[in-house]
Amino acid sequence: MVNCWSWYVAAICIFLRFGLCESFIPNSSWENIEYQKLVDVKHAYINEAFLITIKNIASEPQSEYFLALTEEIFEKISLFEVQLANKNVYVNASLYQSKCLLDDGSVVGYGLISLPSPIEPGKQVSLTIKLSHTAHGLPHPEHILLKDAQNLRFKTARLPFSAYYTRKANLQLLGSSKFTELSAPNDQSLRGTQRDDSYEFQSWDDIPPFETKNQLDVIYVHDLPLIEVLKLKRDVWVSHWASTLQFEEYYELINRSAKLKNGFSRLELMQDQKNMRLSHYCSVLEMNLPEESSEHYYTDLVGMVSTSRVLGDNLYIKPRYPLFGEWKYNFTVGWTNKLSTFLRQSSKESFILVVPLLNGPTDAFYGKSEISVFLPEGSVLQALDSSVPMKSAEVHTQKSYLDLNKGHIKVTCEFDNMIDANRDGQIVVKYSYPSQAAYKKPLSVACYIFAALMSFFLLKSVNLNLDKK
């Protein structure tokens, strides 16, 4: 009975394996003539750049190139952009949905690059690919003293992890003054060399597709906090009567740095702060706000927090306590801007609103982000889009002050895996807002008051006196 059951399960697993692989494998229509990979570990998230020269080795023109990505990176991509090398021309790039299970059990995802024009057989083209993801380095060791410098451990493919054969490749790590390789291979040609702020490897030749051997496991100095925004709720309120755009943001964040070894000591903290050095704990958050913002406020669940300062377009907030490794904090910030900076009128009743995606802490990465735009009561949503792919978009109504009819139109967009560099992204909302809808608001208030006054008059006119007759 057990044997039959195990055969049955094995058959299903084999079917699933073939099912996953048969879903998609790129054709061997390209060859990587040169494959340079740069990994920048300076930030809390990881920036990777690929400089790839590819050649069409098929017999027909090709216009699609698949960039292979490990599952860990594929699930945590924040930015993926492609340009033709040496030209300021962006190329269509997106994440391909199908994945494949390799022989060694690893799963590969793909970034799909659609070239502007097909490349003829035998011709080459060079691409510059920029990738940012939140599969960041982990603290190593996990527990350190307050005064210790923090090191992070990061793993990546040493040799090109590509769907195509690679003629020549090299790798460079940037962003730290010291890199140390763990479990360095015996082969000297695979080892790297420390330079000033980089760790460089010599070139390798003739690498087969999906090369997963000789993984690079490296420790580097990164004595800065790793701020992760676990949840962001950003509300943007549009007011035509006041010509304002109000922003309110609620953050739940955590510092993913190394934890304290001996617990917290205020004496140690005060001694460390005298040194005025950057450290793995976070005591100030810097936020870049839109130009000419006003009416700033900063609160948390306890109440108003006075430790904040506005300098130019930057808001500096100081949490009630410093955030050490795995310490959490939540707070709300808000400010107001003039509506004319973000809104334009495309026709008599039609408006287009462009709202920045993020204004949060610098050098931070985000888990779940929910951005809601509240359009005036009586408006009708016509179009919605964003420069960054949305996980979902919903439209509801929500009542607010003096909303006596259906309420504001609430357009909610959800995003995953954003980074602070996404602040350059935008959400665009097109809606119609007739003048009648605008005047309906004071008329609605007037109707209630008028009804109350007329009711008073009619009740007063009724004679309830008892007459002797």
Binding site: L343, I352, Q382, K441, V445, L453
Partner: protein, 85 residues
């Protein structure tokens, strides 16, 4: 509608004017004062000894005017105290 198309349309569209927030408290005060005046007149009319039809018509017009100014005043007052409608 694609993002690029919307951005192009945004760049071609004309900027909107700004209503001056600083002057809205004054508008609120004027509107609420007029509203108070009209509603008080309406209530005085309701207590007067005129004929019912005349009283009703006068009261209706005064109440309607007072309500309208009250509605406007409420919007401007809310904007003046930072509750943007």
């Amino acid at each position: 509608m694609a993002y690029e198309q919307l951005i192009k349309e945004f760049k071609k569209a004309k900027p909107i004017g700004n209503s001056d927030l600083d002057i809205q408290p004054r508008y609120a005060a004027i509107a609420l004062f007029l509203s108070l005046l009209l509603i008080t007149s309406a209530l005085i009319t309701a207590n007067s000894k005129k004929s019912f039809p005349l009283k009703f018509i006068t009261y209706t017009f005064l109440s309607a005017g007072g309500s309208l100014f009250f509605g406007l005043g409420a919007i401007y007052l809310a904007n003046s105290v930072g509750v943007y409608i």
